[in-house]
């Protein structure tokens, strides 16, 4: 029998061709359908970015209007999903568990895949916002058709219309993390549809993977560090104590990038604008001085490895700056990444290739059965 070569983590293997995103870890660039991420985040709306991923081109005005219309038709939460979320809130489950339940309870997997994709993108923000309101003992807020996608997400959680600067900041974040190659959650989504399963199953699986602490996209710990630094006023002391204890410095280093994560640059300028808008009430100043100290200390501590700011670092500053509670950081990531997940599924479905690797057997061989009494 042929023994396949062992690649734990499969990080040196390309398992598919894709037209969606191109990551260059050496030069630190991320291209979405031919558009550099910084260009997309600075110019596009979330809906436009979503349209670009789905259709491989930027929409004209009438196309965009029709697409926004389709999203708004499917934002509403079906009753049975609302019931599940309210019961889950009574048990105070983890918000990502609630998202998994909410998505799994959706009932449109008989629709064509492209339709499922649009509906999933439309409804995930509603699931997150409704669950959070149930958790707080409040009734969900209905989405409003005239509000944009990012605006609706904030509005459905708070019940008040957000300021344009806040919407812009959220929108830039949602665009920055919209797709990123075959991370574990996207990979599981693609693997699930490679069996020609539906997109609801795929996104349910992806939400489960995103929940895992090793996945990334969870900037909660960064926020805790920054809050400590803001209180003590001494970034150096914090960095040194983390490095001495041998722990990872949260917000630095990425599996793929050997440079500063290009999304960090996008989010740093978003954070800076937001900070200026709020008269310096965000953690931006703390974060940028911390980044400077940390880069210096990390370079001295790991001379052989370049550890630079990753996407989580300024995500914490931006999401905290627009008052998203830390418990909703990962669900907010899902609000964006559901676009990448579903587009990858549609790409996979054009020519499904069943993922069927092997594992190398290293256990015992050919044992005889021992009756229970002799054990």
């Amino acid at each position: 029998m042929v023994d396949n070569s062992l690649h734990r983590g499969v990080e040196d293997i390309a398992v598919t061709e894709t037209e969606l995103s191109d990551i260059d870890g050496e030069s630190g660039s991320l291209i979405i359908r031919g558009v550099p991420i910084e260009v997309l985040a600075n110019n596009a709306t979330f809906e436009e970015s979503c349209y670009l991923l789905f259709n491989d081109r930027l929409p004209t005005e009438p196309q965009l209007a029709r697409f926004q219309q389709r999203l708004s038709e499917h934002r509403q939460l079906p009753d049975r999903v609302a019931t599940v979320l309210s019961q889950a809130a009574a048990e105070a489950v983890h918000p990502m568990d609630a998202v998994r339940m909410g998505v799994a309870a959706l009932d449109f997997d008989d629709k064509p895949p492209a339709e499922q994709a649009v509906r999933l993108v439309a409804v995930v923000p509603t699931i997150v916002a409704a669950y959070w309101r149930y958790r707080a003992g409040e009734a969900p807020v209905e989405p409003r058709a005239e509000l944009r996608h990012a605006e609706n997400y904030l509005y459905m959680r708070t019940g008040t219309e957000p300021e344009p600067a806040v919407v812009d900041a959220l929108e830039a974040y949602l665009i920055a993390v919209i797709d990123h190659g075959l991370n574990a959650s996207t990979f599981v989504a693609r693997s699930i549809v490679s069996t020609e399963s539906d997109l609801v199953s795929a996104v349910t699986g992806a939400v489960g993977a995103l929940k895992g602490p090793r996945h990334g996209g969870a900037p909660g710990p960064v926020l805790e560090t920054l809050r400590t630094v803001a209180t003590t006023g001494s970034p150096t002391a914090t960095v040194e104590s983390v490095l001495e204890s041998g722990d990872r410095l949260m917000g630095f280093g990425h599996r793929v990038y050997r440079t500063r994560d290009p999304r960090a640059a996008v989010l740093a300028s978003v954070a800076e604008r937001l900070d200026a808008h709020t008269d310096g009430s965000t953690l931006f100043e703390t974060a940028s001085s911390f980044e400077e100290v940390a880069r210096e200390k990390l370079a001295a501590h790991h001379p052989d490895r370049r550890l630079e700011t990753n996407v989580e670092f300024y995500t914490a500053v931006v999401l905290d700056g627009i008052d998203i509670p830390p418990a909703l950081f990962t669900p907010t990531f899902a609000v964006s990444r559901v676009v990448g997940w579903t587009t990858h599924c549609l790409e996979e479905l054009e020519d499904p290739k069943l993922v069927r690797p092997t594992a190398r057997y290293t256990g015992k061989r050919d044992r005889g059965w021992t009756p229970r009494s002799d054990r």
């Binding site: 396949n4 061709e17 004209t60 064509p112 549809v193 349910t204 069927r356 690797p357 290293t362 059965w369």
Partner: protein, 484 residues
Amino acid sequence: MTPSIFDPGLTATAIAETSCSNIDAENGTVHIRGYSIEAIAAKASYEEATWLLRNGRLPTTDAVESFRGALAKRRSISEPVETVLKTAAQANRSVMEALQMGLATATVNGDDTLIETSRVVSICPTIVTTYWRYREGVTPIHPDASYSHTENLWYMLTGMEPDAATVAGLETYLTTIIEHGVTPSTFAARIVGSTGADPFSAATAAVGALTGPRHGGALARIHTLLTNKDAVETPAAFVEQRLTASESIPGFGHSVYTGCDPRAEILKACATTMLENHGDRSLLNTATALEAAVHDQVAGSDHPSAPNVDFYAVVLLDALAVPPPLFPAMFAIGRTAGWMAQYLEQLESETLLRPRSQYKGPEPRSWVSRADRDAAIAGAQLEPDTLAELADAFKLLSEPSRLELLAILDQANTPLSYSTFHERSSIADKGRFNYHLRRLRGTLIANDGATYTLRAPGQRIVDRLLDGDITSSVEQVSDADREH
């Protein structure tokens, strides 16, 4: 790091080291933790096999008794899970969808991952039977901790005291399929486990992969085959006709085995024993006749010669009087222990599964403001090859009936059966309808079994047409022409 290897489907890659199961594809053997699958099927209870998978050795009597108790006390489901199952039953969702929803709605009770993996194994039978009883309009039955895993499954399904022969047959099925390397569903569980996520998330993803027609559908196709009038009455002629037409026969061949699937033999023997003295042997008779006919006739064709595990699973589950819609769920119930064992292996390896992809999309392009986008399309470079392709595409579309077919599918927003599709079209003549459908099938329209949907390119064309861009630009052109 630039990926050094391109391996679509990862078929040439080992993604981990495992000590769960060893499959020898050429010789057709499976060993679980070193014990042959035949020994496990004949001798182990489901609890024993699960304990073995987890611990790498056979349990003592004390160990198996205490494990049985540990599983038995974790069978109950929470209120939200009960609610989604009831709703799923009312909405006529399939059992696999219900199982997926049930698992997605269950959550961990504590921090002990090992215990939580047991809970996943324990609640799957409760989820499936609760859904099924709602579906049948009868009250769900609470699990009974005095029963073993398999006895309790039977009890919750039927409400009857489990008899020894039925439990033995069902247990043979569950242990035979308990674990089988890195299948797509198991791999999904591993990917989720590689992020450090909880066992319910992993099991949900695994069921999601099983929901696809490639697997769950196989059992249904085999059942249809074994009750097909021609297959029942004239199996040899039936097989000959299928092979001549180069059509595959469901239940034959396996993606791993080049020859026999050893599990098919086990299940065949088990079904034969069960039906020896009583019961309806018709499925078994048809299955053995088809197996013999395929065996005799495949020489010279590339059709696989040996039946796979699903082929005799259908015969056995039918002999056990399991309702056919539940067949895929019985598979999932059996496989849960394998999913959880490999989930734990991946989790403990602390290795994230994060492969790469090869980018084949457009090179970096510059931003075009919204107002300029139509102009940008007009000014784009069209190469001679592209022009020829475009002309072909327009030729295909240059027929109102075909545009109508695309529009019907877009409007329907749901897969249409052939007859509904035909009814909704204005093409009364079946031959003409078929002709246009054939031209569009595969490229713009997908035909999945008995239903039709728009493929992504078809959807894009309809979107484009509905935007009105094309007709309005053609109108502009004709106006301009008139002025000249």
